[in-house]
Symmetry: C2
Subunit: 238 residues, 2 copies
């Protein structure tokens, strides 16, 4: 009996390894394989499934409240679309602001539209070092207690008391996508980024709404560290 059990254990371990389910924890292979389609959905051992998802890299940007937009651009100003973003209704506007912390400054941060309830500045850790700000990782909208910054537009300046964050890595999913992957709102998953410097990144929040388009959103630090670009296909690991 012991012999049989030992054989089964050895086989299961071997199958788990061969499936690639352990690959992130094993020796790296240095390949540059991309998954060929966003619809890939391969069964893996131990109940795991792998799902391709298009990457969207978010450069630093600002969301403004209507009140702050008026202070920075004047009372009659309306955001105009420069181009639409992948998430329906969202757009990169034609407008920019400068931000400043003491003597450290970043110029021409693009404002994304439409306006939101609260003003929020989404930066990378690299930006945080430049600005001498210790930025926390936060879900969009959750800005209580985060660092503020001075913001300047063509018609005025404001002193934000909070709002500067590193946006958490996240997936946008429709309810159908979520059902297909078996994930729930706020669940965290891991995602494999394949390239010459590959990685499995963790703490990727699942955000689910039928207004969304299926996409992985990461910041420029994650993109540059792992050499991936918008439109590449990453692999969700459930």
């Amino acid at each position: 009996m012991e012999e049989i059990v030992r054989k089964v254990v050895a086989r299961v371990a071997s199958e788990l390894s061969a499936s690639g389910r352990l690959e992130a924890a094993g020796p790296a292979v240095g390949h540059q394989t991309k998954i060929s389609s966003a619809s890939v959905c391969k069964p893996a051992a131990a109940g795991g499934y792998r799902h391709g998802v298009p990457v969207g890299v978010s450069n630093r940007h600002v969301h403004l409240s209507d009140a702050d937009l008026k202070k920075l651009f004047g009372p009659a100003y309306r955001l105009e679309s420069y181009r639409g973003l992948s998430q329906p209704g969202e757009f990169a506007s034609t407008a920019f602001v400068d931000i400043q912390n003491g003597d450290r400054k970043i110029e021409r941060l693009r404002i994304l539209g439409p306006v939101r309830k609260k003003t929020q500045v989404e930066l990378s850790a690299t930006d945080g070092r430049l600005l001498k700000l210790d930025l926390p990782v936060r879900t969009s909208g959750n800005t209580a207690g985060t660092p503020g910054i001075r913001m300047t537009g063509p018609s005025g300046s404001i002193e934000l008391t909070e709002g500067c964050i590193i946006a958490s890595r996240h997936l946008h999913l429709t309810e159908d996508d979520a059902a297909r992957l078996g994930v729930k709102t706020n669940q965290q998953v891991s995602v494999r980024l394949s390239g010459a410097k590959s990685a499995v990144i963790n703490e990727v929040d699942c955000r689910i709404s039928n207004n969304y388009k299926f996409e992985l959103h990461i910041d420029t630090d994650d993109a540059n560290a792992n050499l991936v670009s918008t439109g590449d296909i990453a692999e969700i690991i459930i």
Copy 2:
């Protein structure tokens, strides 16, 4: 018999999960646990071992050949140590150069000493975007066919025909460290970086010499993407 096998399979899968061996591929937990000691060496299931290693973050820098040093700083110039680096004999010098590609420029890149056989510029992908250079990931010293750049020092300028790279992620190990971990020169391993944005990074080259000090070297993009700093403890996954 089927019943017994099924139970064993379930137990092995559960043990593999509990060991954390599958953690990179499983749901992330968002913790900020650091390994408390660089000497950690825990057995894991499926034959794996985990080893803590101190992180060293490499900012962009330059290594100069003696001939290029003379052209940039004058024939009598000798590099002076600003401070010693963790690898024995290596030092950050007191000297800087500027580099320029077309209209894109990075000023005050620090020169590391001592001089080397070939001049080499180690940059991040973020730097590459700024300079409009498509940088390859290379092992230090392997610069054939890489992009060149204009370099300016206090006594002159040179046009490098090659030498700009993203240094590959790497581990410095003594022969004893390598024996303890069971790795060979040029073997690639994976390393877990723990923090608010954690990841398992792959393609980490093992470099072995008794002149080395045990350390993981990553660039500022990897450090900023995963929120780790010099002196943090990462975890080698063999």
